[in-house]
């Protein structure tokens, strides 16, 4: 986020690198070799810990990526299911009570046994945070207690079929009791994962060694290093120069260069982020659904994805990415139809007295360009708009208060748990806490209410699909592009599985040739 604020400089830097690197020599990839048990992998991570390793913060992601922090359950992006991790099983003993059976003989890296008491203490620590975690907080979890040495009971305030998803959130990570010091969290040798943090260079990197006693078997690497490199072009360069083996979240400007390098594999997957033109549904002119539909028809999303995003995003079909199990496969990318759009504008009776305002938040450098394209395409249907750039913090009070026309922003649908219920509830229900578009539809709210208590996953996904259809039908917003999670991996790395939710990188199966 912060780097967006240096967007001009960083963007120029990225462009210069991308252009100049076109002339660099590409070497052929190394022949397949056996993994080196003494190898260490360097990861250029886009996120730096800033909260003294507080698990309720995004620092938990860094510990998870590092192969240190583990949770009771794990959401598998491949199978799209919640699977056992530190818990071997769980059952719902009542509507509001879930019992998690812990894996036996798991030790923290300091040699302490992971028992129910330690797990309950870890989770309760997160619950007590002043700024609670998104997934695990007093609104979602009432209490956590040890029933016996191997069983943890989690009580929720109301029926919550998604509790195992919450226990799979990195914020629900489990650390040794010794990690909770008077000065904050000390993760050194206090996790259960395949890698133990051994040292940190403040603001630079975290070094890890193999956990020889890992509960899930052999760890192939001797260790690793997570480097905190928040500038995207620098991360891209690090994998080019082989200073890093894996670089996460590659910016669009570096994509072509890395794809042309045969020593590097570029992995792409749908991320849960959709760049969106939020329309203020609560006031004219976008309180008129016909005008919102006209806005959708005016925009050429494939061209936008190809130009501004340089192939690092796909045109959106609706509020979900097509690969998500709850997305409606029948939804297509909206086609440009200027004739119909003009008719809708005329039929709406909207008489424009002054230009509308599109807020492009500065945290995302590309939004200024996206705003300019939208401005031009709106002109073609008779809508005049000005683009203003603001930091999100500066725009937020007016946006939440409904005092705006349009804002370009993006949301991670699965920032709390690997399920969109939190997003559907907060962003689009009438009482939603983050309903930027001030959208309100009773039918939609009813569906989300049903989904909140639906235990059957298939039925729940069906409800999400129907809710998404309502949003698309009402043209609540214009969903522009689905962003891709893009990682670059060096030729010596073996066994890397990309996680679009950016939780797992250093795993026991990750290996590297000499």
């Amino acid at each position: 986020m912060k780097l967006g604020r240096l967007s001009a400089a960083a963007g120029f830097a990225a462009l210069a690198l991308a252009l100049a690197a076109c002339s660099s020599t590409s070497a052929s990839s190394a022949p397949e070799k056996a993994a080196d048990p003494e190898a260490r992998v360097v990861v250029a991570n886009f996120r730096a810990p800033v909260s003294n390793w507080a698990l309720e913060s995004d620092d938990a992601y860094v510990l998870s990526i590092a192969g240190c922090l583990e949770t009771l359950a794990k959401y598998d992006q491949g199978t799209k299911t919640v699977e056992p991790m530190l818990a071997t099983s769980w059952k719902q003993s009542s509507d509001t009570e879930w019992d998690f059976e812990l894996r036996k003989n798991v030790e923290f890296q300091d040699g302490t046994i992971m028992d129910a008491k330690a797990v309950a203490a870890s989770l309760n620590h997160v619950l007590k945070a002043t700024a609670p975690a998104r997934a695990v907080n007093p609104k979602t979890i009432k209490k956590v207690e040890a029933l016996d040495a191997d069983t943890v009971r989690v009580t929720t305030p109301g029926a919550d079929p998604l509790l195992p998803y919450r226990m799979a959130s990195v914020n629900a990570g489990v650390l040794s009791p010794a990690a909770y010091t008077g000065k904050g969290i000390d993760p050194m040798h206090h996790c259960t994962g395949p890698f133990a943090p051994v040292s940190e260079k403040a603001g630079q990197s975290l070094t890890l060694d193999r956990n020889e006693n890992y509960w899930d078997g052999e760890v192939k690497l001797a260790g690793g290093e997570i480097r905190y490199i928040t500038e995207g072009a620098t991360r891209a360069t690090q994998v080019q120069t082989v200073e890093a083996d894996i670089s996460m979240s590659i910016p669009a400007t570096s994509l072509a260069t890395l794809e042309a390098d045969d020593k590097i594999s570029v992995l792409k997957a749908d991320s849960p982020r959709t760049s969106t033109l939020y329309l203020n549904n609560s006031r004219a002119p976008f309180d008129n659904p016909e005008l919102r539909k006209a806005a959708t028809m005016a925009l050429d999303l494939p061209a936008m994805a190809a130009s501004i995003y340089e192939g690092a995003a796909q045109p959106a079909t609706g509020p979900f990415a097509p690969s998500e199990p709850w997305a409606n496969p029948d939804l297509a990318v909206p086609q440009v139809n200027l004739v119909e759009a003009k008719k809708l504008v005329e039929a709406s009776g909207y008489k424009q007295e002054k230009p509308l305002e599109i807020i492009a938040i500065t945290e995302r450098a590309e939004f200024a360009g996206v705003g300019a394209i939208i401005q031009e395409q709106f002109k073609q249907i008779g809508l005049q708009a000005n683009v203003v750039t603001k930091s999100y913090g500066a725009a937020e009070p007016d946006v939440l208060a409904g005092k705006y026309d349009m804002i370009l922003s993006q949301r991670n649908r699965m920032i709390d748990i690997a399920d969109p219920i939190g997003f559907l509830q907060s962003d689009y229900t009438c009482e939603g806490g983050y309903n930027l578009s001030h959208y309100c539809n009773e039918d939609y709210d009813k569906l989300v209410g049903q989904a909140l208590v639906e235990k059957d996953e298939t039925k729940r996904h069906d409800l999400y699909r129907k809710a998404g259809d309502i949003l698309a039908e009402d043209a609540a917003n214009v969903w522009l592009v689905n962003e891709q999670a893009i990682d670059a991996v060096g030729a010596k790395v073996q066994g890397y599985v990309q996680d679009p939710l950016t939780r797992y990188v250093l795993t026991k199966d990750l290996a590297k040739t000499s």
Binding site: F12, A20, S24, G203, I229, T237
Partner: protein
């Protein structure tokens, strides 16, 4: 000395108050900025915002908050970061160490290079070496760091694999950022040294020295260069102060955890104790360094050494 200490106190007070004002004059809620820095969150609920503000006393009147910070600072306590909850000193002191070595190395390179270039240029005034050096230094002034840095990274890190592309963990990793930070001061310093040496070359005491039989090299070393470098020392102090807090672009591109980046990030995230602590340390370092430079200036000024009064 007393005047300098009073000046330092006034500078610290003023700069820390200006930084402190930022969240009060910026649009948006600083508490929400703090929460967003901790986690990628939409809109935190009001109860969380209130509880977080309560924890750090962020809803107290502005002057009460500043007075509280000042009271702590007077006892040597820079306060607690509103994002990490850790002592500000734990962030500021490592960062100033990084920046001092970065800025110090850059200035050292700049001083040495500019003396060589400036003297070479002045002693061949109007000839091709002078024209070449002048052209290059003028061009370097115009090239921004964010344009030069990626090109040099591409050349020395990607193309020839001679240097690391980023980081701050080895002497090699310092080479590119130091070189990039040094280029602009080299340009300005070279112009100043050239001008100073040209003036010294034309001065009466140099002509007198030559008349006494000193060779041109002897005259240059004993009389011209000491006089010619006087304008340089004045500029060094100013540049050093600027580099302490102003190398943020280089720090971002090279992933260096320095002071410019720390202050920038903390202001953007409304983590004001960290920003205040950073600015105070930068100001203090700048004042101390300026004092040292003044001293060097006096020692190296031949007019002062031989008791000549200016004016």
């Amino acid at each position: 000395m007393v005047r300098r200490v009073l000046g330092l106190g006034a500078s610290v007070l003023l700069s820390s108050f200006v930084v402190f004002l930022v969240p009060f004059v910026s649009p948006g809620d600083p508490v929400r900025s703090l929460l967003r820095a901790r986690m990628d969150i939409g809109a935190a609920d009001e109860a969380t915002v209130q509880a977080y503000a309560e924890q750090f006393g962020l809803h107290d009147p502005m002057l009460v908050q500043f007075g509280r910070w000042l009271g702590r600072f007077a006892t040597g306590d820079m306060g607690i970061s509103h994002i990490s909850g850790t002592p500000v000193a734990d962030q500021v002191l490592p960062a100033i160490g990084v920046t001092l070595s970065l800025a110090g190395s850059a200035l050292l390179v700049a001083i040495v290079a500019s003396i060589l270039l400036g003297v070479a240029s002045a002693t061949r005034a109007g000839q091709w070496p002078d024209r070449l050096i002048t052209s290059i230094t003028h061009a370097l002034i115009a090239i921004p760091e964010y344009a030069l840095a990626p090109l040099l990274v591409l050349l020395f890190a990607v193309r020839f694999s001679l240097l690391p592309s980023a980081g701050f963990d080895s002497p090699a990793s310092l080479v590119l950022p130091v070189f990039i930070l040094a280029l602009r001061p080299i340009s300005f310093f070279t112009v100043a040294v050239r001008s100073g040496v040209c003036q010294a070359l034309d001065s009466e005491h140099v002509l007198a020295a030559r008349a006494r039989g000193l060779s041109s090299t002897q005259a240059l070393v004993r009389h011209v260069v000491p006089h010619g470098l006087l304008p340089l020392w004045t500029m060094v102090g100013v540049w050093f102060a600027g580099l302490l807090g102003g190398s943020v672009i280089v720090e971002v591109i090279f992933a260096i955890p320095g002071m410019g980046r720390l202050i920038f990030d903390s202001i953007v995230d409304a983590d004001i104790p960290v920003a205040q602590g950073g600015v105070v340390v930068v100001v203090a370092c700048a004042v101390v360094v300026t004092g040292i430079v003044d001293l060097v200036h006096k020692i190296s000024d031949p007019n002062v050494r031989i008791g000549v009064r200016h004016g």
